[in-house]
Symmetry: none
Subunit: 200 residues, 2 copies
């Protein structure tokens, strides 16, 4: 049982709402979130999501829905307590979100690389960090990409497209220089969508 586009939007909103508030949204809140003015329509979506087995409905009740599946089961999330740096003690920060670590970086066609070397150090990507890469043949100007040079050497760099069609790969390290290549020599393996580091 598949969901339509708006049904998926609604499901996304519901999950998001649960993560943020710890309880289910009202139909009117979903409607607001989706930019819809009819709660009848929203109700139809909610029923479709329930039919697909993604949530469970408690008829009649206000906020009468529960998440099903991993969403409610195994805990893969940590509380997001707030911002650090200034002002208040952390414990006092309200509006407790949850951040789902398995969702944070997951996506189709992604992989992880362990970074070696300091070429992206000024971008906060250090030696030994992991970068999450989305496999894609094209990037936008300014993206951090994994690029293959002459089908031999793989590197992590900022990418810039030049007017003459050539491509400049720019390290984030004051000690290293950008280098420009003919577009044919550069094969983009993917773009960096995340980075993580473990201290211990």
């Amino acid at each position: 049982m598949d969901l339509s586009r708006r049904e998926r939007d609604a499901y996304q909103f519901i999950r998001d709402f649960f993560a943020r508030h710890g309880h289910a949204p009202l139909l009117s809140e979903i409607a607001l979130g989706l930019g819809i003015h009819s709660k009848g329509t929203v109700h139809r979506y909610v029923r479709a999501i329930a039919r697909a087995g993604l949530i469970e409905l408690v008829p009649g009740r206000h906020r009468g829905m529960r998440l099903r599946g991993e969403a409610s089961g195994r805990k893969t999330s940590l509380p997001l307590l707030g911002r650090i740096a200034a002002g208040q003690p952390i414990a006092a920060i309200p509006d407790q979100e949850e951040i789902d670590l398995s969702e944070f970086f997951m996506g189709p066609n992604r992989f992880v690389l362990k970074v070696q070397g300091d070429s992206m150090i000024d971008a906060g990507i250090l030696d030994g960090d992991m970068v999450i890469v989305a496999q894609r043949p094209r990037a936008d100007d300014g993206d951090i990409v994994v690029a293959l040079l002459d089908n031999e050497e793989a590197t992590l760099k900022y990418i810039h497209y030049n007017r003459d069609g050539s491509i400049t790969l720019r390290p984030a390290n004051a000690a290293l220089r950008p280098i420009t290549y003919a577009a044919s020599r550069v094969c983009i393996q993917g773009i960096v969508v995340g980075q993580m580091r473990s201290y211990r």
Copy 2:
């Protein structure tokens, strides 16, 4: 039951679309992707791909197709392809591990903070990053800690213990100076065990 060239193109596009968006494309999206102006033609290709058993069709529905085969399971791990920076094309690197994102940072009594400001920039912790903090009353010399000053201000700093019992909190930013406090003024909320960042 082989596919023609354009049918293969269409199948490729569909797989790609699933990978990128997590759901099926419209006929018109496939048409756009292949540079075709007739959805009737695309429909013929899609039927051929279904007849070949590569996808499953749900007649009538918008985006009514499903990939068949490996593409269905939901994972919380990503392949760790290897190290980047030098030498070989990534694809050639063997020894494929999987890295489980929900395990990587999970642990008892941990929480996440969103970093504000540049005080730890030289440690690769940038404005907007998330840090994973293990709630602990004590830290080791040199750890990055979340410390509460005079029960009022929470900060993220390196911690150093001095011989006279005082505590020095040291930013990782050349523009800022370490400050030394009496131990009684510093309350350690936890130590940073991880850091992550999401691009775009």
